[in-house]
Amino acid sequence: MTATADDLLAGVARAAQIAATHADDVDRQARFPREAMDELAGCGALAALVPVELGGLELGLDVLAQSCVLLGRACGATAMVFAMHTIQVACLVRHRKDSAWFEAYLRELVATPRLIASATSEVATGGNLGASSAALEPQPDGQLRFDKKAPTISYGAEADDLLTTLRRSPDAEPGDQVAVLTRRGQHELTETGRWDPLGMRGTCSPGFAVTATVGPAQVLPEPFDRISAITMVPVSHVLWSHVWLGIATDAFERARAFTRAGAQRDPAGGDANGRRLSTLLGELSLLRAAVAAGLAELTTATADDDFAGLMTMAAALRFNTLKTTASTSAPQVCWSALAMCGISGYRNDTPYSVGRHLRDALSGSVMVANDRLHATNARLLLVVKDV
């Protein structure tokens, strides 16, 4: 690993320490993890994917994935905010073509860190990323305007900028979409509800009505179906899975600490928990292997000419399955850890508390509904040959 990757991971480790300190407060108050996010901004993590030619570190997705695990072990919400921001940066980097506007934007992101949120889901179409109802409307002065009702925009109130999916024009079909980046000052966000969820409380993700007016240069030059297939979906599923792995890993470590403390107190006691821990290590190892394989496959496919492999239905099936599997098994690991720690795990105020872990990990299956992905996969399985 290069020196810059090591430096970045050292910065992320510092941020993770800070995140761990504030994790319970962030969770209890459903507040933005400001302290850790400031540290991530300060160490260059928010621009880590930006190419060297634009002044960035151009680190690989593996470093960012590892960062998500480090943060996930400390605070699920901080890790998820970082993952979501990184996904938006990945889309801008890979699909900017030779857009001068986006290149200037990415240079600026390196010089002065900015946080990017996303509005892909929509009240009218739910978690179906591939269809929009809201459209870009050309104005007489050449500008473009849009109104979008977003059911969920994580850290919408904190973000500097927003990446929004929309139909290309008022007469475009729902699937004929583009992605538009608007800067603070260009968009107006009106909260449409409170954020008081079960878990991932620090992501601060209420609904918003978004209205904005932008120049055509702020529309990503490639069509969204391509952005989605090559970058947004696979990178999201890979980074989210690493976040969930981090959460499950910390739950496992808490169960292990509980077991060790029990063995120290009562060396002659039974080793029932020790054996459960061994079983749980098996579950955690399967999750870890699934997540690592997903990252490795994405890295390989990204090296294809023109990302051809990522445009296939086999790839969609592959990365959907990573997401449904990891989001199912991570809460199961947390649940087993809770069963092992008993009341000490159930309480929110012991070193063995895993309630937050379980609640945070459960968000995975609704963050783009697993049922929806299984329905999509059911169709893909009819035509894909090699799974």
Binding site: G130, E173, A308, M313, L382, K385
Partner: protein, 82 residues
């Protein structure tokens, strides 16, 4: 070949406009073919032409127009497009 492709699209494509209004080069997704329906189109084509599309050909682009589908079938050895 294009006539049979059009028959499959009519039966499986669930397009919001009649097939007759679309040229062979028109983008079927722009014309409103949903990704759900495109899977049915692929299955329909495999049945009608008795072929199997390999995974590398199962992409949106390969099924984006009558012409594109004909080119894919030709690549699979099914005679020149009519």
């Amino acid at each position: 070949m294009n006539d049979l492709i059009r028959t499959v699209l009519r039966d499986h494509g669930r397009l919001p406009v009649p097939m007759e209004t679309l040229a062979d080069s028109d983008d079927l997704y722009r014309a409103g073919m949903a990704s759900h329906a495109s899977v049915n189109v692929m299955l329909g084509l495999e049945d009608a032409f008795d072929v199997e599309f390999p995974d590398r050909m199962l992409t949106r682009g390969v099924f984006a127009s009558v012409d594109a589908i004909a080119a894919a079938l030709t690549e699979l050895g099914l005679g020149a497009p009519a």
